[in-house]
């Protein structure tokens, strides 16, 4: 029988099921296959915070969305072309996101009266006309899986658990993907459980073969590889990229890395990943709480390590006191905030950008801290190195902002050439830096005296950074602490004029960082745009995709994206004033737009969304078009 094979430019697939159905794994495996095939891709895992949410309920639905294409894409996609729903709750929770004509592959096994009632279906949606505008394939995936693995004599529970592999096999067939990579993966994962391993492989193949032999699917699809610059690529999530960035920063600076951290969603992966890299001089310390983790980080920085801590918003709240100490002691460290929905415990597994003002200002006293934000999963690597550069060069704690979407989302990453990465010079103090007053008196009349004492707060005139001396180095003995330092000598000082000077100097040091930043790149292809869209962090993808849509509709629009939120780049004010209207989409209630208004007196328009999910390109495009039309009117 001949089959129709249609070629598509892009596809968005969403795998959805109960937590425990293995949807994240299914999505991840399909992603890996798409990555090896050479598609550009972007993913959005979306799962409940509970370890085991109530079975079969809508809050318990776990989904994984994958967008893959034969060109470069920026977002995980707004509306799935294909929904794989493993139970009634997964169907109900995701139906609203589907465009007309979408394909739904649904496992009918759990469509029992009780399960339907549980999610609020009074009648079976598969029987009624509710799904008429979709192309529905209602299949007993669980039943077919149990049949396919019967020979392995598993318990029914274990047999039914293989259904995610059956579904993966089927979808792989539908998009002409091989499953060999997943078979290898299963062989590794279940090496110690041969029957489970063989049953999963059998289910995977059975799903693929079902697609091949059934006549349910009249059409299958191909999505060709995306053209990309030559190089070695791998698929990477934001948390992995960020961890690698920290490892790389340790190597580039020649410093041992110490991560002091307490596990918190969605930052825990960084602790997991870095704990694997002892061979690169990385030490990980899982502290008893966030406060101890921050204390260890400050201590490691004092001791001459590249000190890092990784947490989320609630952890930053606990760490803020010790971050203040790090500001006062002027020690280099990177504080990673993988933001999640707040306030309080909030939405642990969902994304938000609402910690910006917290990391900017959430400390007592005037305690300026530089803020660096990553814009895409793979960009977390470069952002981590940049944060380490600022920290070490300017002797200051640096906030590195990621978020739940970047942390768990993945995309292809061109593995960089190590020789292209910037070196970071720790420039440790090696000897005394000042001629003491007593020797000046004694040696009156003589010139070019050798420095004979060490002042820990004698600053570099260019960067205003203080010297970094490893404790225990002879001749460099010094004290630091949380009380105000006297200018230069660093001893405790309560002098009014000294405090005024030190507060202003600490601020001036952070402001000086702007001098080291490259000029901003404004994406304004036509050069005649009236509207500038400015963003920071993970909104980069959705804003870029929305701007493409605005341009495709025949309008001009400019985009600029901030990596450095504190200090702001020197040329930003001029750029903002160049446009008639400035729009700032954020996943909070307008925190960056508030900073920009305060800093530049520019009437920045805020576009906000706090749904725990990234912006959809379609909706954002509609909002931007309103501004484009408003600005030209």
């Amino acid at each position: 029988m001949s089959r129709i094979v249609n070629e598509l430019d892009r596809v968005v697939i969403r795998f959805a099921g109960d937590s425990g159905d293995g949807m994240q794994l299914t999505g991840d495996r399909f992603t890996q296959e798409a990555a090896v095939f050479g598609n550009d891709l972007s993913t959005l895992p979306n799962f409940p915070a509970e370890i085991r949410a109530p079975q079969g309920t809508i809050p318990g639905v776990s989904s994984f969305q994958l967008h893959f294409a034969n060109y470069d894409i920026l977002t995980p996609g707004d509306r799935p072309d294909v929904l794989v729903a493993m139970n009634p709750a997964a169907l109900k929770a995701n139906l609203g996101d589907l465009p007309k004509g979408a394909t739904i592959i649904v496992d009918t096994h759990d469509f029992t009266k009780r399960n339907l009632t549980k999610v609020g279906y009074e009648t079976d949606p598969l029987a009624g006309d509710e799904l008429d505008e979709f192309s529905v394939h209602a299949l007993d995936l669980t039943g077919m899986t149990v049949e396919a693995v019967r020979e392995f004599e598993l318990s029914r529970k274990d047999a039914a658990r293989c259904k995610n592999m059956f579904a993966l096999g089927l979808v792989s067939w539908l998009y002409g993907r091989e499953v060999a990579g997943t078979e290898d993966y299963l062989r590794g994962k279940f090496a110690k459980l041969p029957t489970i391993r063989d049953a999963n492989i059998a289910a995977l193949r059975a799903g693929w073969n079902f697609g091949e032999t059934t006549e349910t699917f009249a059409v299958s699809y191909v999505v060709k590889p995306a053209p990309v610059p030559a190089g070695r690529y791998r698929n990477i999530t934001g948390n992995t990229a960020l961890s690698y960035g920290i490892v790389a920063a340790g190597q580039l600076s020649g410093l041992p890395v110490l991560l002091g951290a307490y596990p918190i969603t969605p930052a825990s992966d960084i602790l997991h990943e870095l704990s694997k890299h002892k061979s690169f001089g990385v030490t990980t310390f899982q502290a008893e709480d966030e406060i101890a983790a921050m204390g260890a980080t400050v201590g490691a920085a004092f001791g001459g390590s590249l000190a890092v801590t990784a947490t989320s918003g609630p952890g930053i709240a606990l760490k803020s006191e010790a971050i203040g100490l790090a500001v006062m002691t002027e020690l280099p460290m990177v504080i990673v905030d993988v933001q999640r929905g707040g306030p309080s415990t909030g939405l642990p597994t969902k994304t938000e950008q609402s910690d910006l003002l917290q990391v900017m200002y959430g400390r007592n006293g005037e305690a300026p801290v530089p803020v660096v934000a990553a814009q895409s999963p793979s960009d977390c690597f470069d952002a981590a190195i940049e944060a380490a550069r600022i920290a070490v060069t300017y002797r200051t704690p640096v906030m590195l902002l990621s978020d739940g979407y970047l942390a768990n989302g993945s995309e292809p990453w061109a593995i960089p050439d190590v020789s292209d990465l910037p070196r970071i010079d720790p420039d440790f103090a090696t000897g005394p830096n000042r001629v003491s007053t007593s020797s000046q008196t004694q040696g009156a009349g003589e010139t070019a005296e050798e420095p004979d004492e060490f002042w820990p707060y004698l600053r570099d005139p260019e960067t205003l950074a203080r010297p970094w001396a490893i404790p225990g180095t002879p001749g460099l003995e010094h004290r630091i602490g949380g009380l105000e330092k006297g200018d230069g000598h660093g001893n405790i000082s309560y002098e009014p004029a000294n405090h005024d000077l030190m507060v202003r100097t600490r601020q001036a040091k952070i402001d000086r960082i702007a001098r080291s930043l490259p000029p901003l790149e404004v994406d304004d292809p036509t050069g005649d745009a009236d509207v500038l869209v400015i963003g920071w962090g993970s909104t980069y993808g959705p804003i870029g995709a929305a701007c493409r849509r605005v341009r495709d509709a025949g309008h001009s629009i400019a985009q600029v994206h901030l990596r450095h939120v504190n200090p702001l780049p020197q040329d930003l004010g001029e750029i903002l004033r160049r446009y008639r209207r400035v729009v700032c989409p954020e996943m909070n209630l307008g925190q960056l737009s508030r900073l920009l208004r305060a800093e530049y007196l520019v009437d920045v328009q805020s576009l906000t969304s706090v749904r725990g999910l990234p912006f959809g390109a379609e909706a954002l495009c509609a909002d931007l078009l309103t501004h484009v039309e408003g600005a030209s009117a």
Binding site: G56, T112, K113, R114, N115, S155, R156, K157
Partner: protein
């Protein structure tokens, strides 16, 4: 409070619930399974896995099987709380109401 198995289990005894129960409180009689109400910890793990939909939280028992709250409890009148179905083995006999039910197949 406890979960309760009703008449839909009779002569079926799928036992999917037995695998799920973390405290091993689901005992097998000759014709149906019974939940020991004193041992049940109300976790609800058994309820969604029953292919017969025969397990209910006691407050949610349908009218037609309201007697099964007592039937589950009375099935243990002779044995009390054995503290684990795996170690105890099969219950010697069903509750009289269950024994009296006509065999369907």
């Amino acid at each position: 409070m406890t979960y309760v198995i009703n008449q839909d289990c009779v002569d079926v005894k799928d036992r999917a619930c037995v695998d799920e129960c973390p405290v091993d409180c689901i005992y097998e009689g000759p014709r149906m399974l019974y939940i020991q109400p004193d041992e049940c910890v109300d976790c609800g793990a058994c309820e969604p896995v029953c292919p017969q939909e025969a397990i209910f939280y006691e407050d949610d028992l349908p009218e037609a099987s309201s007697g099964y709250l007592a039937i589950n409890a009375q099935a243990f009148a002779a044995v009390g709380s054995p503290g684990g179905a795996g170690a105890y083995g099969l219950l010697a006999e069903d509750h009289p109401t269950v024994s009296a039910l006509e065999k369907v197949n």
